[in-house]
Symmetry: C2
Subunit: 409 residues, 2 copies
């Protein structure tokens, strides 16, 4: 079967067609980092009352008109506003009521004069040396949020301050998208559990741990489905198990052509399956397979973990955002750092090269130093701060070029 | 008591003097985002055996010398390497052994010729049309990590790939710093639990939720200690309770001078206490109090949540990194986006102004649009993508200036 290798953009576009995995409700105390599935509209006016923004005296602004240090105005102190209570006194004309920041203005008052411009002549007489305007140093009952106003849009991943505002509005339960579940499967006759001592020829199962931690970092839930050798029936059984308990299945492990072909044959043997991608014009990561069965995507990832992580950062991160319902356009400037390239980089035209770089700071800003090394080394992964993309229409980049580095965090 | 307002740098420097809160061991499956308290050195060579990086035939390189498409060399096929096993065959001179990527080279072989340059003449005869050099397409037993080599430094917050490498090396338990516990206390007579309906004059307890979520986001553990009114004995009891169960105590809530003075008096009444900071030359956030008792820091945060969040981003985030043992210098370019300023910004000389901005993308890159609004509004917090710092030696910035935006994430 002939299958054209796809470009980065074609693959990203295919992956955007998947739907969020579902919805649920969570209490506000568990809402951090969850993605809203519905717009939040304000259930009430906030703060809900005329509120002082400074410490001072609540007055009728007109009583201050004309007041200066040389010609102060004099007001009668009518009492004090207690925090958290409806004032029992009234600020009628000529009267001033002591008030603290956050206090509710008494009836009659339309402004607050800051304590700095007030002078107590005696227990009941206040001298003020400045004019205040109506509405000065107060916020209106609906200045922050008006009842029915849009507060937060569906598709937003909630930050600490967003959670705080929900709490402030009394929104105690929130409709959010479910956290996507990712079945992680490791294959390859040479792959052994991490608890075992590797004999010559064997390697420990790095991929399961790396991809599982990657899911957690992206707010998805890894489902550790299992590990199997290069056997059709075993892998098929494991993929089916993965499909039962998860929203997407990621197979990785063996790095030989044989293992890749096996993964492809297993995917193709499933019912109602479409093969979406068989090879991507990127390096590393070319031998990636993507299939779809019903609403779920199956990934055959490159066996080598350094390649698998490039595929994860470039494709699986936005894919998980889509499954999570995250409005990806809202993700602003995330994880991109501008840097100068420390040396020339060669690249093959016709594919996107993703080069691991180390970032160093010098007097002029960030310097991106490409990490070279034999393909197949894992150590480059822990040395890398980020990835540099050399687009498929370029044959390289020059020392000193300003480049965008996608941070690996 | 006279106490000079401190600068941003002075406060950051004081906070850097605190120590990480302690150490513990975690299994590798729980190590993501934890901070290493000890260097990791490789317990063994990785991969530990001579390994193929391509699919092909393992040979002695010298047998290929002189081979071209016109004058190929011929080798006898001696067998096949099974993945994950020590090869049972030997690649003596004139012999070739089939091998897949990741396989262990048989004795005698020093290189692998890629399958693309091989042609099977019959079951046992291989024609090769290219020269390979010794060590070509293989990695040495200690190419990735040599036994005893430094893999990851203490102070590093572990990323997915770092966790993967630990698993790959068989490091199943890791020494990490303990997660700092933060006692969160909310004060103010006007502050009510979020479950309650706010009567005029009252506000729900936004700060507890915002600061708690902030802690979680920064990988600290909030300890919700409680809420109390503006009462010395109540607040003192609550601060003492906080000190029992946490590594640092954060008091916030009321926004009036009275509440701030109360917090100060409560801190000063503790045993063996030093007042470190009473006011910071920043806006918003000036009325911040920091005290120290034994090894623990006590914070009196501005009551208004928008101000408290500025203090949190500027001071509490690096403080939590210090308590977590994170080597802050390793934090590279984190959360900083360069943008053009969309309009002029005025600022008061002598203090650092932190201005909330919205980020928009246009043809030339990121545009930072200051969010203005009455002080005391919470809604600006959910609109803001980041903070712009206008240094204390500036009186403002101009439209079009290139500025660094600290992202609020």
């Amino acid at each position: 079967m002939f299958f054209k290798v796809k470009t980065t953009e074609e693959v990203l576009s295919l992956l955007r067609e998947f739907e969020p995995v579902g919805r649920e409700h969570v209490p506000v105390s568990k809402a951090l980092s969850r993605v809203l599935s519905e717009d939040i509209v304000s259930p009430e006016n906030l703060p809900g009352f005329l509120r002082a923004t400074v410490d001072g005296y609540a007055i009728q602004a007109k009583d201050s008109f004309g007041a200066t240090e040389s010609f102060p105005a004099f007001l009668e102190i009518a009492g004090e506003v207690k925090m958290g209570e409806i004032p029992s006194v009234t600020a009628s004309s000529g009267k001033a009521v002591r008030i603290a920041t956050g206090g509710m203005l008494p009836q009659g008052a339309d402004s607050v004069i800051m304590i700095e411009y007030c002078h107590l002549l005696d227990e009941s007489t206040l001298e003020i040396s400045r004019v205040v305007s109506p509405q000065e140093n107060v916020i209106q009952p609906d200045d922050d949020f008006k009842e029915g106003a849009l507060v937060l849009r569906a598709g937003r991943r909630l930050r600490p301050q967003d959670v705080g505002v929900l709490a402030g509005l009394g929104v105690l339960e929130t409709a959010v998208y479910r956290v996507p579940k990712v079945a992680i499967i490791s294959t390859g006759d040479e792959v052994i559990p991490v608890e075992e001592k590797a004999k010559p020829g064997q390697v420990r199962d790095i991929n399961t741990y790396t991809l599982g931690a990657f899911c957690e970092q992206k707010r998805a839930a890894p489902v550790y489905t299992g590990r199997c050798g290069d056997d059709f029936d075993d892998l098929l059984a494991m993929v089916k198990k993965g499909l039962e308990g998860a929203d997407t299945v990621w197979v990785s492990g063996g790095s030989s052509v044989g293992t890749r072909d096996l993964t492809l044959r297993v995917f193709e043997s499933l019912e109602k399956v479409d093969l979406l991608v068989h090879g991507i014009s990127i390096s590393p990561g070319k031998p990636t397979i993507i299939a779809r069965t019903d609403s779920r995507a199956l990934f055959g990832l490159p066996g080598h973990v350094a390649s698998a992580m490039v595929v994860a950062e470039i494709f699986l991160a936005p894919f998980l955002a889509t499954l999570s319902g995250e409005a990806y356009l809202e993700v602003k400037g995330r994880d991109i750092v501008e840097a100068r390239l420390a040396r020339n980089v060669e690249s093959v035209s016709g594919r996107d090269d993703f080069i691991r770089v180390r970032l160093l700071k010098d007097g002029e800003g960030w310097l991106a130093e490409p990490i070279f090394g034999k393909s197949g080394l894992i150590s480059t992964l822990v040395e890398a701060d980020g990835l540099l993309r050399v687009g498929r229409n370029r044959e390289g980049l020059y020392r000193g070029d300003i480049v965008e580095i996608m941070m690996l965090r």
